[in-house]
Amino acid sequence: MGDLVTISGNLLYAAFFIYLIATFFFAGTIRDKEKGKSRLAGNIGIGLTIIGFITQLGYFVTRWMASGHAPVSNLFEYTTFFGMMLVFAFIVLYFIYRVDLLGMFALPIALLLIAFASMFPTELSPLVPSLQSHWLYIHVTTASLGQGILAVSFVAGLIFLIRQVDQTKKSKHTFWLEFTIYVLVATVAFIILSSTFSAMNYETTFQAPVEGQEREITYEMPPLVGPANGELLTEGAMSPLLSAPEWMRGEDAAKKLNTFIWAILGGLVLYWATRLIIRKRIAAAIQPLLKRLNPELVDEVSYRAVAIGFPVFTLGALIFAMIWAQQAWDRFWGWDPKEVWALITFFFYAAYLHLRLSRGWQGMRSAWLTVGGFGIIMFNLIVVNLVISGLHSYA
C-alpha cells in the first residue's frame, strides 16, 4: 500500500516537471518566424504536455488503487484533478486551433493549481458514507472537466487582454488586468511561503476559546494575526501583531485569516519587486511577446472553450450532482452553498452566452467575462470550501 502511495506521489512530481519543461517549449514558439513554418518547438511542447498528462493520469490511477476510491474526495485531490482537466482541455483546444502560445499560459495556470493543491493535507482520507457512491466519481470528474474547459476560456481571455489592452495610458482595463495578474502572483507567493515554512517545520501553538471551549490551535506560519483571546503556548515564538476580530468563529478562522494575510503581503512584495525590475506594468512587459497573435483567433478560442465547457459543466455540476444528491440526501437540491455556487457559475456562463450571441459582446467584454467566470469557479473551489463550508465541505 505505502509503495503505491509513494509511486503515485512521484508520478505527480514528474508530471509537474514535464509540464514545466513543456511551458518553456511553448514559450520558445514566440521566436518562430512565420506561422506554419517551423513548428518544432510547438510540437515538442504539445508532445511533452501529452506525456505529462499521461504521467498525471498515472498518479490518479495509482492513488485510486491505493485508497480504494477515486481520488477526488479532498481539497488536495480535487484541485490536482482540476489542474489535470485544465491540461486535458488545453490539449483538446490545441488540436482544434493550434495556438502554441495558449500553452505558454495554460500550463503555468495548471502548475499553479497543482502546486497550490499540495499545500493542503495530502494523506489518503477515508470516505464518509454519503460520499460512497459511484455518482460521486461521475459527478466530481465531469464537473471538474467542465471547469477545466471553462478555465481554458479564462486563459485565452487573459491572453486576449494582455494582447489588446492599451498599455500607453492608465485605464480601468490596465488596473484590473494588473489586479488579475497580482492575484496569480499572490498565489505563487502563498505557495513559496507555505512550502518554506513547512520546510523549516515552523509551528506556533496557541490556546484560545473556540465556541466557548479552550482549544489548542497550531499555526504553520508566523502569526501576524493571532486568535481572538488567544494565549501563546510556544516559547520564544513571535507574538502576534494583531488578534483576529471576535466575530471570526470556527476553529481555524484566525489561522486562515493569518495565512491569507501572508499571501496578500507576499504577493505585494513579489509583484512590486517584479515591477521595480521591469519598470513597467507586468502586462505591458508581456504584451510585445504576443504581437504576432491574431486577437480574433484568441477570442474565438476563448468562446469555443465556453461553448464546449458549458454543457459538460452543466451535466457534471448540476445534473449528475442532482442525481447523487437525490440518492444521498433524498433531495436533488438543497440550496447548500456549494450547490448555490455551482448554480451561480451556470447562470454566469448562460449570461455570457446570451450576451455574446444576442448582444454582440465580443473581444474585450467577453474576455473580461471569462476572467469573472474563472473567479467564480475558484471562489467555489476555495472560499466556499474553506470559509462557507456546507455539506460538501472537503476540508
Binding site: 491505493a66 477515508p126 458514507p129 468562446y303 440526501w329 433524498d330 448555490v340
Partner: protein
C-alpha cells in the same frame, strides 16, 4: 397585416428586415436591427419579422417586448446570481439548529449584519416570494423570447433561396470577389459535399448549408428548462410530492408516516460502522480527525403493508412487502415510496429496572419493577405491597435553574420523580432519580430506589419520500442537455456563391466560430481558382 413585396417577387410580412427569399434589405425596416449605421448586415435572425420588433403600441405589446428582450433576460439572471450569492454568506434557516428562533439566532451569532440579513429575508432566500418571482420571470422571459424568435427564424430558413441579392452578398461578414473565368464549380461543389454541406442550386447560384438543426438548440434547451421549472412547481401539489419522516426504534414496528397508514416498517437492527483505526491506508487522516470516522449507516428493516381485509380500528393485519436495508446512497424503495437513511440515535434507553431498598443498606430488596421508557406506566404495584407512582418523567433531563427539565422526547438521559408508598402508608416518600442522580426530596426518606438494570437500543430516522415530479424533472434535464449540445457542438454554416460575367462572388455566414467557417471555405475552394474571401469584420478594441 401589411405585406411587403420585394423586387424578387417574394411577399414578406410586415417587420421583415431582409427579404425572406433573396435577402435584399427592406429599405424602411433597416433601423430594426441597426443595419442603417453598420457596414455589415446584422444576420442574427436572418432579418426575419419578429413580433417584438414590429409592434409596440398596446400594453400587451409592451409586456411582450419586455420579456422577449435578451437584455432584460440577462438582467434577471444577473439579479438572481447576486441574490443567490448573498444567500450563501450566512447559513440558510434550514441549516441553523432546529430549536432556535431565527430572529434571535442571526442577531446573536452575526450581530448587526445578521439582523439585517434576517430582516431582509435572506435567511430564507430560496423560498422567499421575491426569489420565486425572479425565477418565474426568468421562466416567462424564456418562453416569450423563444416564441418571438423561433417561428420567424424557422420560416425564413425554410423559405431562403440560393439566389441572393447583391447587397446581401456584399454585406456579409465573409465575402470575396473572384475575377477569373476558369472557376471550377464542380470541384467546389464536390469539396463542399465532402465537408457534409448540402448544396442547393438556382440558376447557377449556389447555397451550401450545414447543421441548420443546431439553430434549434437554444429553443430545445429552453423547453427543457421550462419543463424542469414546471416539474419543480408541481411539488407544491401534495398529490405529487410527499416528504415525511419516521423514527423507528430497534425491534419496533411502526406505521410509516405519510403513507395514510398503509405501510409499516419494522426496524430489525441499526448498524453504525466506523473506519478501523488500524487501517494502514487512512491512518494519518484518522489520526488528524481525532475521532472515529463513520463508514456506514444502515437500517435493516422489514416493510409491511396493511392487508386489504383488515378493518379500520382493528389491530392491522400486516403482509410483508420486502426485507431490505437502507443505507446512505441506497434507499429502500417499495411501490411509489422511498425510505432514506437520514438520521440515527444511538443507545437510547428502552427499559430500566429499579429496586426498593433501605436507605442505608443497598443489599436489602423489597421488590423490583421495570419501566418501559417508550410507554411508562403511572403506577407500579409490587408483590411485596409497595406501590410506586411516577409523578414526573423527563426523557432527556437537564437542570435548568435548579429545576429538572426535559430537552427532548427521546429517552436519552431519563430521569423520574417517584413517589413510593410503603405498604399501608398513605403518605408517599418522594425522590428524584436519574443517571448519576438520586435525590431524596425531603431528606427524611426511609427507603431508596436503586437502578438495577437497563437496556438500550438504537433508533433510526428515515425520510419518507414519494415523488411523482422526479421523472418530469429528469425529462426536463435531459431535454435541456440535448438542446445545449445541439446548439453548442454544431454550428449552422452557410456559403453562397453567385456567378458573375468574369468570375464569382462568394459569401459565408455562421452563427458562431468564424475561424472554423473560414477554414472550411478554405478547404472548399482548394483547386477551384476561387479566391479566398476576407473577413470584413473589424474587432473593436
Amino acid at each position: 397585416m401589411k405585406r411587403i413585396t420585394c423586387e424578387c417577387g417574394h411577399e414578406n410580412p410586415e417587420g421583415a428586415v431582409l427579404c425572406e427569399a433573396c435577402g435584399k434589405p427592406i429599405e424602411e425596416n433597416q433601423h430594426i436591427d441597426g443595419n442603417d449605421d453598420q457596414k455589415l448586415l446584422n444576420m442574427r435572425y436572418d432579418g426575419s419579422a419578429r413580433r417584438s420588433k414590429t409592434y409596440n403600441r398596446t400594453f400587451v405589446d409592451k409586456v411582450w417586448n419586455f420579456f422577449s428582450s435578451v437584455k432584460v433576460g440577462v438582467w434577471l439572471i444577473v439579479i438572481t446570481v447576486i441574490a443567490s450569492a448573498v444567500g450563501t454568506i450566512l447559513p440558510q434557516e434550514m441549516y441553523i439548529p432546529p430549536n432556535e428562533d431565527p430572529a434571535v439566532h442571526y442577531r446573536d451569532q452575526y450581530g448587526l449584519f445578521g439582523q439585517i440579513y434576517y430582516q431582509l429575508g435572506f435567511h430564507n432566500l430560496f423560498s422567499s416570494w421575491w426569489y420565486m418571482i425572479l425565477i418565474a420571470m426568468i421562466g416567462i422571459s424564456i418562453v416569450v423570447a423563444s416564441i418571438d424568435r423561433f417561428f420567424p427564424l424557422y420560416k425564413v430558413l425554410k423559405k431562403q433561396k440560393p439566389k441572393r441579392h447583391e447587397t446581401f452578398m456584399k454585406k456579409q461578414r465573409v465575402f470575396g470577389k473572384t475575377e477569373d473565368e476558369s472557376v471550377d464549380l464542380e470541384l467546389f461543389k464536390k469539396n463542399l459535399r465532402k465537408q457534409r454541406f448540402k448544396v442547393y442550386e438556382q440558376d447557377g447560384h449556389l447555397l451550401a448549408e450545414k447543421n441548420r438543426f443546431a439553430r434549434w438548440g437554444p429553443y430545445v434547451n429552453h423547453i427543457g428548462l421550462i419543463v424542469f421549472l414546471l416539474g419543480s412547481l408541481l411539488r407544491f401539489i401534495p398529490a405529487f410530492y410527499i416528504d415525511d419522516f419516521v423514527w423507528v426504534r430497534e425491534g419496533e414496528t411502526k406505521v410509516i408516516s405519510g403513507t395514510d397508514g398503509e405501510y409499516f416498517i419494522e426496524n430489525k437492527d441499526f448498524i453504525l460502522e466506523t473506519y478501523d483505526e488500524s487501517d494502514e491506508r487512512f491512518q494519518q487522516a484518522l489520526l488528524n480527525q481525532g475521532g472515529p470516522v463513520p463508514k456506514n449507516f444502515q437500517t435493516d428493516a422489514v416493510i409491511y403493508k396493511r392487508s386489504e381485509s383488515s378493518l379500520p380500528g382493528q389491530e392491522p393485519e400486516l403482509e410483508i412487502v420486502k426485507e431490505a436495508s437502507a443505507k446512505m446512497n441506497k434507499p429502500i424503495k417499495f411501490d411509489e415510496y422511498a425510505l432514506y437513511q437520514a438520521s440515527y440515535q444511538l443507545n437510547e434507553f428502552s427499559e430500566m429496572t429499579f429496586k426498593v431498598h433501605d436507605k442505608d443498606d443497598e443489599d436489602t430488596n423489597y421488590g423490583e419493577f421495570t419501566v418501559d421508557l417508550s410507554e411508562p406506566e403511572t403506577v407500579y404495584e409490587l408483590e411485596s405491597g409497595y406501590r410506586i407512582e411516577i409523578q414526573n418523567y423527563f426523557p432527556e433531563y437537564e437542570f435548568s435553574n435548579g429545576e429538572p427539565v426535559s430537552v427532548s422526547r427521546f429517552p436519552k438521559n431519563p430521569a423520574f420523580v417517584f413517589q413510593l408508598y410503603p405498604p399501608g402508608e398513605s403518605e408517599p416518600e418522594t425522590s428524584f432519580l436519574g443517571i448519576g442522580a438520586n435525590i431524596d426530596a425531603s431528606g427524611e426518606n426511609e427507603y431508596k430506589l436503586g437502578l438495577v438494570n437497563f437496556d438500550v437500543r438504537d433508533v433510526t430516522g428515515l425520510t419518507v419520500k414519494k415523488d411523482y415530479t422526479l421523472p418530469i424533472i429528469a425529462i426536463g434535464g435531459a431535454i435541456f442537455m440535448i438542446g445545449v449540445i445541439q446548439g453548442m457542438y454544431w454550428n449552422h454554416r452557410r456559403i453562397w456563391l453567385q456567378p458573375k460575367e468574369n468570375g464569382v462572388w462568394i459569401a459565408g455566414h455562421t452563427n458562431k466560430n468564424w475561424f472554423a467557417l473560414r477554414r472550411e471555405i478554405g478547404k472548399a475552394i482548394e483547386g477551384t481558382n476561387i479566391q479566398e474571401p476576407v473577413d470584413q469584420y473589424e474587432m473593436e478594441k
